[in-house]
Amino acid sequence: MIAAARRLSLPLIVVGLLLLFPLATTGFYLEFTSKVMILAIFALSLELLVGATGLVSLGHAAFFGIAAYATVLLSPKYGAAGVFWILPAAVACSALYAFCVGVLALRTKGVYFIMVTLAFAQMAYYVFHDTPLGGGTDGIYLNLKPEVMLFGARIVDLGKPVAFYYVVLACLVLVFLFLAVLLDSRFGRVLAGIKSNEQRMRAAGFATFPYKWAAFTLAGALAGLAGFLVAVKDGFVNPEMLSWHESGAVLLMLILGGMGRLSGAVLGAFAFALLQLFFQWDVAFGSFAKHWPLMLGGTIILCVAFMPNGLIGLPGQWRAWRARKAAEAARV
C-alpha cells in the first residue's frame, strides 16, 4: 500500500499541477503545454514498445502522422465531423498500418528490426510527401475541428484552448492509467518476460510472436491517438510529422526521461520540449540560437553517455555513486 502510494506521488503531483496550470497562464504557454501533453501520449505509446517489450522502433512517427492525416482527410469538406466516429476511424488507420508493418517487421530482430521499422515509416512518409493524396510537401488544412456532440448538444468545444487542454489532459491520464494496468496484467508480464529473455518464454510455452504483434499494433493505435489530437489542435498536417526526425525525437524522449517507467516517458516528453525551447531562446544564446540542433545534438550525446537511465534514474544513479564513494572511503 505504502509502496503504491510512493510510486503514485510523482504522477499525482504532476497531474495536480497540470490541472491548475490553465488558471495561471494563457496563450502561448497553454498551447505549448497542450502540445507537450500530446507528445507525452506519443512517448507513452512508444514506451509500450521499447521500454516494456524491448522492441526498438525507429519508425514510430508513421503511426502518429497517419492518424493525423486520416483526421483531416476523413473530415467532411463542409461541416464538422463527429468526434465519436472520426477519432476511432483515425486511430484505426494507424492501427491497421501497425498491424501490417508488424507482421513483416517482427520477423526480424535487433538491428534489422530498427532498420526495417525506419524503412516502413519512410514508405508512409513518401506516400504523403510525393503523392497528391496528402497535398504534397505543403500539407493540408483541417477546415473545421471535430465536434463533440452527445444527444444533439455540444458538450465540449474543441476550438477553445482551455477546453482542448483539459481534453488532452484527460486523454493523457487515461492512457497512463490504461498502460499501468495493462503492464501489470498477464499480457503485460509476458511482454516483460519477452524483453528479459524471449527464448526462455518460448521454452515455457508462450508463442511470443502474437504477443509482440499485439503490442506493436496497440502502440501504433495509441500513437494514432496523439496524432489525432495534434491534427485537431493545429488544424494542419504535413508530411514532416512522419519523418524520421520525429521518430528519433520520440525515442530520445524515452531515453531522456528514463526507460522502463511510464513516468519516465512523460518526464522525457516535457524535458525534450523544454530543451528544444531553451536552445532556441535567443536571450540565452543570441544569434547562435538558430543553430539549436547543434546544441541539441551535443546534449543528446552527453545524456545518453552519462545518464543511461534518464532523468528518472538520476536518484538511483546518485545513490549508486554515493554508495561507491562510501565503499572506497571505507577501504582507505
Binding site: A192, R200, G205, A214
Partner: protein, 253 residues
C-alpha cells in the same frame, strides 16, 4: 525404477546437420517415467544440439520425436512445451530483475495464458501462483521466494532454473548441465533435488560431472562426434570398451 509402460519420449534416428557438419547423427533414445537418463560425451559430441533439437529450439534434419505417443517432430518449441516438454538451460536463463516467485509464476502462466484479460493484475492469477508455490516447494526455494533473482548465489540460480522448468508441470524434463559451475555442497543439493524429481517425470540429463552422472542416473547414453557409441545401465556403460577408449584412450580389461 522404470515400469513396462511406453516411454514418455521417443527419439528415433534424430539427425541434425549444419551445412557440411553433422552435429547429431542418427541418435535414438527413450525416456521412461521415473528414470533419469543421462547423455554424456566429450566436448563437441553434440549433446547440447541434441537437447536443442528435442526441445524444438532448432530444426531437425531427419528423424522423429514422439512425446506421450504423439509425433511432435514438426511442432514449434512453445507447442512442445504445451504438450508436456520442459527444458532448462546450461547458461542461466532466469529473469534477473524479477523475484524468485515471479520467475516461476511467469513461466507457469504459460499453462493458462488468458492474455485478453488486461484489467486483472497477473499476480492475482490463481493458476500460476499455485503452480509457482508448488514448484518452489519442490525445489526447496520457498524460503527465498521474495528475493530478487539476480542477487542469488550461483547454486540458487541453477535451482531456480530447474524450478522454472518444473513450474509448467511438464512430464518430460530436458536438463542441460544443471550442475554447471557448482561446488561440492551445491552439487549434493542438486543431486538430491534431481532424485526427488524422478517421480512423475522422465528426465534427460546432459552432464559433464562423471561421478554425479554415475550416481544418479538409471540409464546412460554416450555420444562421440554426434553419434551414440553406447547406451545402457551405468555398470554396463562403465565396462564398455568403446567408452573406455573414448574417455581414457585405452581399454581396461
Amino acid at each position: 525404477m522404470s515400469d513396462a509402460a511406453a516411454p514418455l519420449l521417443r527419439a528415433r534416428s534424430v539427425t541434425r546437420r549444419f551445412g557440411g557438419l553433422t552435429a547429431v547423427s542418427d541418435v535414438s533414445l527413450d525416456l521412461a517415467e521415473g528414470e533419469i537418463h543421462a547423455v554424456i560425451g566429450t566436448n563437441g559430441a553434440g549433446k547440447s544440439t541434441l537437447i536443442n533439437v528435442l526441445s524444438g529450439e532448432i530444426g531437425i534434419t531427419s528423424g522423429t520425436v514422439e512425446l506421450l505417443g504423439n509425433d511432435i517432430t514438426k511442432r514449434s518449441q512453445p507447442a512442445r512445451a504445451h504438450a508436456g516438454l520442459g527444458r532448462s538451460y546450461q547458461r542461466t536463463t532466469i529473469f534477473p530483475r524479477f523475484t524468485v516467485f515471479e520467475n516461476c509464476r511467469l513461466t507457469a502462466q504459460a499453462t493458462r495464458q488468458r492474455p485478453w484479460n488486461w484489467w486483472t493484475a497477473a499476480s492475482s492469477c490463481k493458476t500460476s501462483t499455485a503452480l509457482a508455490r508448488e514448484a518452489l516447494d519442490r525445489t526447496g526455494l520457498a524460503a527465498i521466494a521474495d528475493r530478487t533473482a539476480g542477487l542469488l548465489s550461483h547454486g540458487e540460480k541453477r535451482q531456480l532454473e530447474i524450478a522454472m522448468c518444473v513450474a509448467t508441470r511438464p512430464r518430460v524434463l530436458l536438463l542441460d548441465e544443471p550442475l554447471a559451475g557448482m561446488g561440492a555442497e551445491e552439487t549434493e543439493r542438486m543431486l538430491g533435488l534431481l532424485s526427488g524429481l524422478k517421480a512423475g517425470h522422465a528426465i534427460l540429463l546432459v552432464e559433464h560431472d562423471m561421478d554425479a552422472v554415475f550416481r544418479v542416473s538409471d540409464r546412460i547414453t554416450v555420444m562421440v562426434n554426434g553419434a551414440v557409441i553406447a547406451s545402457g545401465v551405468p555398470a554396463a556403460v562403465r565396462a564398455d570398451s568403446e567408452v573406455q577408449l573414448a574417455y581414457l584412450g585405452e581399454v581396461n580389461a
